[in-house]
């Protein structure tokens, strides 16, 4: 009896020793599921128009994205909301076929007709720019196109 000291410490109601473990698990979850954006935007984030009749893009690996909007660096690239960004630099509509070919090289031949091109354009862009892109896509037979929009009713 003398050997055992009376335990003065109050028993904690909930054992919080595992709290850091839980937090680390959540952290790892977020580290794993965060989508790494492949390209840095050289244009200001495009304000997408809203629409109601939208479809979700099924397979991210088959999607190539073309950004259209205002350049972050107006002195170098000019003003206006019609700068086209392919991969990671600002280019023009003529480069679209090469862009599509480079994306196609990474995929099997059988998947080519399932590739979709997503056009993320600012709502202030001109239809002329979009039409140029669309005609170039048609030239290289990249026929599945999705105009990125947010879900919503008329703005």
């Amino acid at each position: 009896m003398a050997k055992f000291g009376k335990k003065k410490k109050g028993l904690p109601a909930v054992n919080t020793a595992a709290l850091p473990d839980i937090v680390f698990m959540l952290l790892f979850f977020f580290m794993v599921t965060t989508t790494m954006r492949e390209t840095d935007l050289r244009i200001d984030a495009p304000r997408l128009p809203s629409a109601t009749e939208i479809k979700k893009l099924e397979d991210k690996s088959l999607v190539s994205t073309i950004y259209v909007g205002k350049s972050k660096d107006p002195e170098k690239h000019g003003i206006g909301y019609n700068k086209i960004q392919l991969n990671d630099k600002i280019s023009s509509a003529d480069q679209v076929p090469n862009f599509i070919f480079s994306k196609r090289e990474k995929l099997a031949e059988a998947m080519h007709p399932f590739m979709t091109t997503s056009i993320k354009a600012d709502k202030e862009s001109n239809v002329g720019t979009i039409t140029d892109i669309r005609l170039k896509l048609r030239d290289v037979n990249a026929l599945k196109v999705s105009y990125s929009t947010q879900k919503g009713s008329n703005n």
Binding site: L19, P20, V23, F24, L26, L27, F30, M31, T33, T34, T35, R37, L48, P49, A51, T52, E53, I54, K55, K56, L57, K60, V63, V68, T116, S118, I119, K120, A121, D122, K123, E124, S125, N126, V127, G128, I130, T131, R134, L137, R138, D139, N141, A142, L143, K144, V145, S146, Y147, S148, T149, Q150, K151, N154, N155
Partner: protein
């Protein structure tokens, strides 16, 4: 000797560090928008392509000018009137449809509820909506117009699907998608596919983008 762990490093702030990192990731995760209006572009016509002759009544002209004004069949309209005008045009059913692929002659539309006027479209599968914009038109307006036209089609498809199958077309498509994914609904996949195809063939989305004026 009691092997009680004598912590030399105070690990009490480990939880704080973990929380900080967690909040960092919560804040910087970008939600990528991955939805939009999907379109299938038509193939590039060969150099010697002769466009087929189409009766003017089967074409519904929508013109958007540089000031984002709408001109529908030569009349100025507001964007919120576009859907109803499109529905009237597609659903008119004033004549015979396209001949079938196996050579059967075109049939009149038996599911149309339009006014069957002679001056509007013959049949939904002949009804072409043509969108003509200007190079300087606002992209936001263009998307709004496309959205309104697609709304017209979904309204007609939903109505027909309710008539024929008792569910709206959206529900039909959704159950088709679910059936494809789940294992125990495999036998319904074919049946649902046929239904979805039938509705799509009844009201095909024929929206043509014309060369923009500069």
């Amino acid at each position: 000797m009691a092997r009680r762990e004598n912590p030399e490093i105070n690990a009490g702030s480990m939880a704080d560090i973990a929380f900080l990192l967690l909040i960092f990731f919560l804040v910087t995760t970008t939600m990528n928008v991955d939805s939009g209006i999907s379109k299938k572009l038509s193939e590039k016509p060969p150099a010697d392509y002769v466009p087929p002759i189409i009766k003017e009544k089967n074409i519904f002209e929508v013109v958007i000018n540089r000031n984002n004004d709408l001109l529908v069949e030569d009349e100025r309209v507001q964007i919120n009137q576009l859907k109803d005008l499109a529905v009237q045009f597609i659903d008119n059913g004033g004549g015979l449809g396209k001949p079938g692929e196996d050579g059967t002659p075109g049939k009149p539309c038996d599911y149309c509820q339009g006014s069957r006027s002679e001056s509007s479209s013959d049949h939904p599968n002949k009804a072409i909506i043509s969108v003509q914009s200007d190079r300087g038109t606002n992209y936001g307006t263009y998307i709004q117009v496309q959205n309104e036209l697609l709304r017209a089609y979904t309204e007609l498809r939903n109505r027909l699907s309710k008539q024929r199958y008792g569910v709206s077309f959206d529900e039909l498509e959704q159950s088709f998608k679910d059936a494809k994914k789940s294992a125990d609904l495999k036998d319904r996949v074919e049946e649902l596919r046929k239904k979805v195809e039938a509705i799509k063939i009844a009201y095909p989305q024929i929206i043509s983008d014309a060369e923009p004026t500069s």
